[in-house]
Point group: C2
């Protein structure tokens, strides 16, 4: 079963927004055994939308369309779909009722353009959108399924979760797809490939291996497709174990988890607590950690100590350390990490201080210079990195490196017991 | 001049990574007057890549391809391009030298598969990639330009900035595209559309208006295309001023800036300082602020006070307040904000405490209940919100609402002078 995703809207093509919807949709579709053949972003242009629809239906069985359903003139998805399927319009009672309820809830008068939100091509089935005024539309035409959804991410997500995915599941007999991800670190992609070459060459045709490198980590993903999920799982597991055995010391975790989640799981299992003391990462490490439900049993919080004053008052960094060595130094970052352990009373602490840029670099300490320290109650490890001259990259790489250093220290403390 | 972007790689189609490259590339292309007609994501499959290339060249003059250039077996872009253009291979001396240098720098032995990174289709021009081992390849075939770049974002960005965009600019006479964005808040999309209906109807065909709603804000974007940039700018400015005059009280800023950047600019111009005291947003507000270069003249830092202990020790929240009213209460969030003002010595402070979920909700305070307080040195405003049951959404909406509350308070304090 093949699907395609079409996103409609100039805002993606001029780069004003990043298309996060498609990745989320693709992930959910894969989980139920629907492969996504192509993702296409087109502009709010009738001819272009028509040809994208025509192309997609030559390749896929299910075409999921997002965007272009707002009440304003630049939104033309509905009328283009009506034209594509040669349909007229009806005002849908269920959709109109939902629009009325939403406007009542927010105590706003109903305008004509809001009532028109309930106009739909007359051959579609309306799926009521409980979180917005644009209805979801389900078409069964040309022996294919077309679903049009709003582009607002949380409206689309609810519609997919509660309506569209269950309908697809009940409608088709879907093949099983099994993915298994192994997160590795401290080894480059090509070295990893060399190490596991023989295992890769021995894979049967229905199992594929992919390498996904990012910020010093490489994710290995085995993907198997077939009829029987249990058999596939067992098959994939055999190859996964061969890989894990071969490159054991580089394996972080054999699940598709971000690094910080793997660390949280490990620390939780040991009953350990963590705090952060961030300067140049500015709360990004805290944010990475606190994205994850249940993090509060491990993570107590920390400081975003941007100004000297806060490094001193919250973390107890000495004034003389800052004036003598500067904020970006082994001495300061060590005091930040040890200050976090002392003041926040956690078992481990991460501290980062660097020059994220684009300004603030010197000859000695150019933009991209970042000191990271990890402390436990009885030791501190500090290390300097030289990243790039791009601010966001420096923040992301600092965070990834800090998490890797924490993981390495945890392993030293617990795996070598 | 039309371009298309093709991203190659299963990882996007199974939703394992979000395609952030395309938005960045589209933005840069638009800035130099190249419109992006379509963005297409296809899998690591030869036939599919071949047909995507053939389709793209029917619509666009420049085809930019990212991904599939790694050293491993799942990366087939190079050999597919050679097949598409009917070319053989050569090992490129410049590309090989760069691979050698990178391996020397990291003191790693050069493997055969690394040397093969310098193999390229023999009809292409190699653009050396200073940040990675996969060369950039520039093809001029079928009267079109095709550029293949690695999918690693920072490698692609450097290549685009330093090589590909300058080459496109010097090669073509490009039309001018002018965008003007007006950020509005506190008004829904349809009400806004109703307010400015007459202005929208009076726009000439070469100027388009788009509505981009997100988290309680709506961005209005005017886009004009033509020959003379100065004329276009003047024209767009006339319509922009009409809109701004019509909906003045909802306009946050008339630039394409994120809300937090608009706030930073305003505070900087007034010489004001800011700190944060975050519980459920877990550093996300600090991260939004510290993404921006130069934020340190306004933002001093703050606390991520996840645990009760840290709310007390860093922010001075009273134990009795926490035990009597709970962490998610007007009383606690007020003490957090006022504690930040007192301990961090800034002019303004943001405090957020809520139940991000999915766990931790009660009947009185369900998941999505968020208290936000904004303090200045002489007053505190606190407000409760009821968001959704999705953790990441709650974090994002809390941050957006907190920033809007801060902006409203700043306006009260400074615009009504």
């Amino acid at each position: 079963m093949l699907a395609e995703i079409i996103t409609i809207g100039d805002e993606i093509l001029i780069g004003q927004i990043v298309d996060t919807n498609s990745a989320w949709m693709a992930k959910q579709l894969n989980l139920i055994g629907v492969s996504v053949k192509q993702i296409t972003s087109v502009s709010d242009d009738e001819q272009h939308i028509l040809s994208a629809l025509a192309d997609a239906e030559t390749r896929a069985d299910i075409i999921l369309i997002t965007g272009g359903l707002g009440p304003t003139k630049d939104d033309i998805t509905k009328k283009t779909l009506a034209k594509y399927f040669n349909m007229g319009f009806r005002n849908d009672a269920g959709a109109l009722e939902m629009v009325r309820q939403i406007f009542e809830k927010f105590k706003r008068p109903l305008l004509d353009i809001n009532i028109q939100q309930a106009d739909v091509p007359d051959g579609c089935e309306v799926i009521v959108n409980k979180n917005g005024t644009a209805p979801c539309m389900w078409f069964e035409e040309h022996d294919k399924i077309f679903v049009s959804m709003p582009g607002v991410p949380y409206e689309m997500m609810y519609l997919m979760d509660d309506e569209v995915l269950p309908r697809i599941k009940s409608r088709f007999k879907l093949p099983s797809i099994v993915h298994k991800t192994i997160l590795t670190a401290n080894i480059g992609e090509s070295f990893l490939a060399k190490e596991i070459e023989e295992i890769e060459d021995s894979l049967p045709p229905h199992i594929k291996l992919a390498y996904l490198p990012k910020l010093g980590q490489v994710r290995l993903r085995l993907s198997a497709k077939g009829d029987n999920e249990l058999t596939l799982k067992a098959e994939v597991e055999v190859y996964a174990q061969q890989i894990i055995t071969k490159v054991k010391k580089f394996v972080v975790i054999d699940e598709d988890l971000p690094l910080e989640q793997a660390i949280l799981n490990l620390m939780k299992s040991k009953g350990l607590t963590l705090s952060t003391a961030e300067s140049c990462t500015g709360g990004y490490i805290a944010h990475l950690i606190t994205q994850h439900p249940g993090c509060s049993s491990v993570y107590w919080g920390g400081a975003v100590a941007y100004a000297y004053e806060l490094k001193e008052s919250i973390l107890g960094v000495k004034e003389v350390t800052l004036s003598k060595f500067g904020a970006v130094s082994e001495e300061t970052v060590t005091e930040m990490a040890e200050g976090a352990i002392k003041h926040f009373k956690t078992d481990y602490a991460i501290a980062v201080s660097g020059i994220a840029g684009p300004d603030g670099g010197t000859e000695d300490k150019p933009v991209g210079t970042v000191w990271i320290a990890i402390s436990s109650t009885n030791k501190t490890v500090a290390k300097v990195f030289n990243f790039s001259n791009k601010r966001l990259q420096n923040i992301e790489r600092s965070a990834a490196s800090a998490l890797m250093m924490l993981l390495n220290l945890l392993r030293e403390d617990f795996y070598n017991e």
